[in-house]
């Protein structure tokens, strides 16, 4: 790769690589995102490589491994461009047929295209698959198009055009104006206006300033940021250069959690490429602006996603939050004014400047502009990543894009906002998803996790789960959070094991109120949300646990009884081998029995029985 010295040089280089590429050339894009990778996308890509070589197609057909294509449930996904044929559930064994039929024969392999689970109708092209209709991809737009390890790919689709425009044609004030007018709000949790944050930071005097990208993505059940960091790392870098220029920072940090090794690798590589190419470093393209980026890795602490704890962690300290104010924009990294934004916030910036603030502000609702990426997971047919305009309803997301609930079961709740969020029940399915509406029903937008639950989920167990997660992750610095979580967890453990008392409910409500008002950081302040929303919308379930010692969803194991249906049991003995306490026995080749005195209710017999012979009550 050459070192680019000037704007003209960049234009010329972009022209050159564009000229070398033929938009009609056959491309095979294998999804290697967070959903397809564990399903074997590397092996699929490898199979294409070998098969294409065997058939003499190398050089004629371009093969790329890309970021997430969205519909992870049907991975491994393979997209053929320019035809836009979308293949699903591709295994290495399918590859020879795809090469033969599609790449050589120009025909469609019908058995690998999308099929509607209800109507049986098929959709060959990406645009015909219901999952993609109704989406508005801005942040995810390039993910199924570019090779994230190729800077050239990013340049071909117009990458670093915004940076150029900003460094040469706009003043920092104009950039901040544009971001402010766009109405962009932070995508990492609180939804603070990004332009206002930048302006504040620009106005504060400081001998040095910093920008930080928050890639800690600690919310369990959320993987939007991982997908963007792995699938389009240069968009984040470009956004940060723009932000750095706007506030007057010359150094940026990207903080990535170490649980995402591929994201660390891709970002490190992208930063090195940009530096080598001359898009980071001193006097970028002779604009007079210096800017560079360092990668900082998290070490496995949820609380480090909180901005002041994250800053402490980059400084080499333990990740304990600090009271705000002062806000990081006033006094942040190494005591200097610092803008910290979420991955998706940064990735929105280039397109906002490029397309214009008004274009962005025309999307979404009055107070929530643009689009939002959600990780749609749990009890929903089409698990994956969706990006929709703000204001799209929960029903549209879960039932139209998401294809509804598997197994014909009933929708029960959707959990948004991670451990600080809440569980939203059926009566709010028509709620438009934006910052304010979610807050009105007791949840939050958060970073974009959307976990769908059906009737097999117990809402008391869900509350207990989040409290136990937060109890583990609380840094312990302040008493209301530390002790409040301990007490809540004890109570919820009691309730889910049949020891609940009537007065527990009001006691929990009291603890929640104290934690919300007296905790130091967002973790403690919002920790009550999962408890409060489940108490509010699913109180009957709490009462069933407390009064009747029953778990209606059959989840809380101490309240269940496992028995074997002698009619259904085939005496395969799988459960006998799995039972950790030897509670299952019986004569050879006859139905087995569970000794209730020995059984510890671990539920594993139920999981391994292939004949549905284990009954739960």
């Amino acid at each position: 790769m050459p070192k680019i010295e000037s704007v003209d040089h960049l234009t010329e280089y972009r022209r050159q690589i564009r000229a070398q590429r033929d938009p009609k050339q056959q491309q095979v894009l294998v999804c290697s995102g967070p959903g397809c990778l564990p399903l074997g996308s590397t092996e699929v890509a490898q199979a294409f490589q070998e098969e294409m070589q065997a058939k003499g197609l190398q050089g004629k057909v371009i093969l790329k491994s890309t970021g997430c294509h969205g519909l992870c449930a049907h991975g491994v996904r393979v997209l053929l461009r320019p035809q836009e044929i979308a293949y699903e559930k591709v295994t290495p064994e399918d590859v020879p047929e795809v090469v033969e039929t599609s790449l050589i024969g120009g025909k469609v392999v019908e058995r690998l295209v999308y099929q509607d689970p209800v109507s049986g109708q098929t959709a060959v092209h990406k645009s015909e698959v219901p999952f993609y209709q109704g989406q508005k991809p801005l942040v995810l737009r390039k993910l199924d198009e570019i090779d994230p390890e190729s800077l050239d790919d990013y340049l071909v689709v117009g990458g670093y055009r915004t940076m150029r425009k900003v460094l040469f044609k706009m003043s920092p004030e104009e950039v901040i104006d544009a971001v402010e007018r766009s109405g962009l709000r932070g995508r990492g949790g609180a939804g603070f206006l990004t332009g206002r944050k930048w302006r504040l930071c620009r106005q504060v005097p400081g001998e040095m300033k910093f920008v930080i990208c928050n890639g800690d993505e600690g919310d369990p059940g959320a993987f939007m940021d991982r997908a963007v960091m792995e699938g389009d790392p240069h968009a984040i870098i470009e956004g940060m250069i723009v932000g750095g220029y706007a506030i007057g920072a010359h150094q940026g940090y990207i903080y990535v959690r170490h649980e995402y090794p591929l994201a660390v690798k891709r970002l490190t590589q992208a930063v090195a490429q940009a530096r080598e190419f001359g898009l980071l470093g001193n006097n970028i393209l002779r604009s007079g602006f210096d800017f560079d980026i360092k990668i900082s890795q998290g070490s496995g602490a949820f609380v480090c996603g909180e901005e002041t704890a994250l800053i402490a962690s980059i400084e080499g300290n333990i990740g304990e939050p600090m009271p705000r104010p002062p806000y990081p924009a006033q006094k942040g990294l190494f005591g200097m004014p610092t803008v910290i934004n979420n991955v998706e916030t940064w990735a929105n910036v280039p397109e906002i400047i490029n397309m214009g603030a008004e274009w962005f502000a025309a999307l979404g609702t009055e107070k929530s502009k643009g689009t939002k990426v959600f990780s749609l997971v749990g009890a929903v047919n089409h698990t994956g990543l969706v990006e929709v305009p703000m204001g799209t309803t929960l029903r549209q997301i879960i039932f139209e894009l998401g294809g509804g609930i598997p197994g014909g079961r009933e929708f029960k709740a959707v959990q948004t906002g991670g451990p600080s969020g809440g569980c939203i029940p059926k009566q709010f399915l028509d709620l438009p998803v934006d910052y304010d509406s979610l807050q009105e029903v007791g949840s939050i937008m958060g970073s974009g996790g959307m976990i769908v639950m059906d009737t097999t989920s117990c809402m008391v167990d869900v509350a207990r789960y989040f409290i136990s997660f937060l109890f583990e992750e609380s840094c312990g610095k302040c008493t209301p959070c530390r002790e409040g979580l301990r007490q809540l967890l004890n109570i919820l453990n009691d309730i889910t094991s049949g020891e609940g008392k009537e007065e527990h409910i009001s006691l929990m409500e009291e603890i929640c109120t104290t934690m919300a008002s007296a905790s130091l950081c967002g973790l403690g302040q919002s920790a009550a949300n999962p408890v409060l929303t489940t108490l509010k919308y699913f109180r009957a379930e709490y009462e069933a646990h407390i009064r009747d010692k029953k778990c209606p969803a059959l989840v809380c194991r101490p309240l269940l009884t496992y028995t074997i249906d002698p009619e259904a049991c085939t005496a395969c003995l799988a459960c006998v081998r799995e039972c950790p306490v030897g509670a299952i026995s019986g004569p050879k080749k006859e139905a087995q029995r569970i000794d209730q005195d020995i059984c510890i209710k671990c539920g594993r017999c139920h999981d391994v029985c292939q004949f549905e012979a284990i009954k739960v009550e």
Partner: protein, 152 residues
């Protein structure tokens, strides 16, 4: 005995500021699979930070371990989606097959078992990882098969 050279290769990549502490500990953890005592003393000296601070950092963050880890690191996801799809029972099954509780290492130093908040592959829950390989849509009857791949 401390391998001076091995540690030096790590230390020379840094300038020696206090803020290098965490990245250095991460490198040591990655290479040694734990943080040996003698190495920590050298790190403290070199960065000019008190040893107590090194220990407070090393114990605060979940990725660091002060005791040696096994040859293979098993991580079972207990994130929300995995929890709803039976992650806890998966963990119990793995734990009883290995004969260790989460957080511990088998006596033969082959396996360490950990839990994790979310691995970011929630679309395929429940998920577990062995070293850097993902196992998606895990079920309890697959546990024996997966573990066998790593047993000597």
């Amino acid at each position: 005995m401390m391998d001076v050279e091995r540690l030096e290769t790590i230390l020379t990549q840094y300038e020696g500021y206090p803020q290098d502490l965490i990245p250095i500990l991460q490198d040591i953890q990655d290479q040694y699979h734990y943080l040996p005592k003698d190495e920590l003393k050298v790190v403290a000296q070199r960065l000019n930070v008190p040893l107590t601070k090194v220990y407070s950092v090393a114990t605060f963050y979940k990725m660091f371990s002060l005791v040696p880890k096994g040859r293979h690191e098993l991580r079972v996801c207990l994130g929300t989606t995995c929890h709803l799809k039976g992650g806890q029972r998966l963990l119990e099954s793995v734990s009883s097959h290995l004969g260790i509780e989460p957080g511990y290492t088998t006596a033969d130093m082959q396996f360490s078992l950990e839990t994790v908040g979310c691995l970011g592959s929630c679309a395929q829950a429940p998920v577990m990882m062995v070293d850097d390989k993902y196992y998606a849509r895990m079920t309890i009857d697959k546990v024996t098969k997966v573990l066998k791949l790593y047993k000597e």
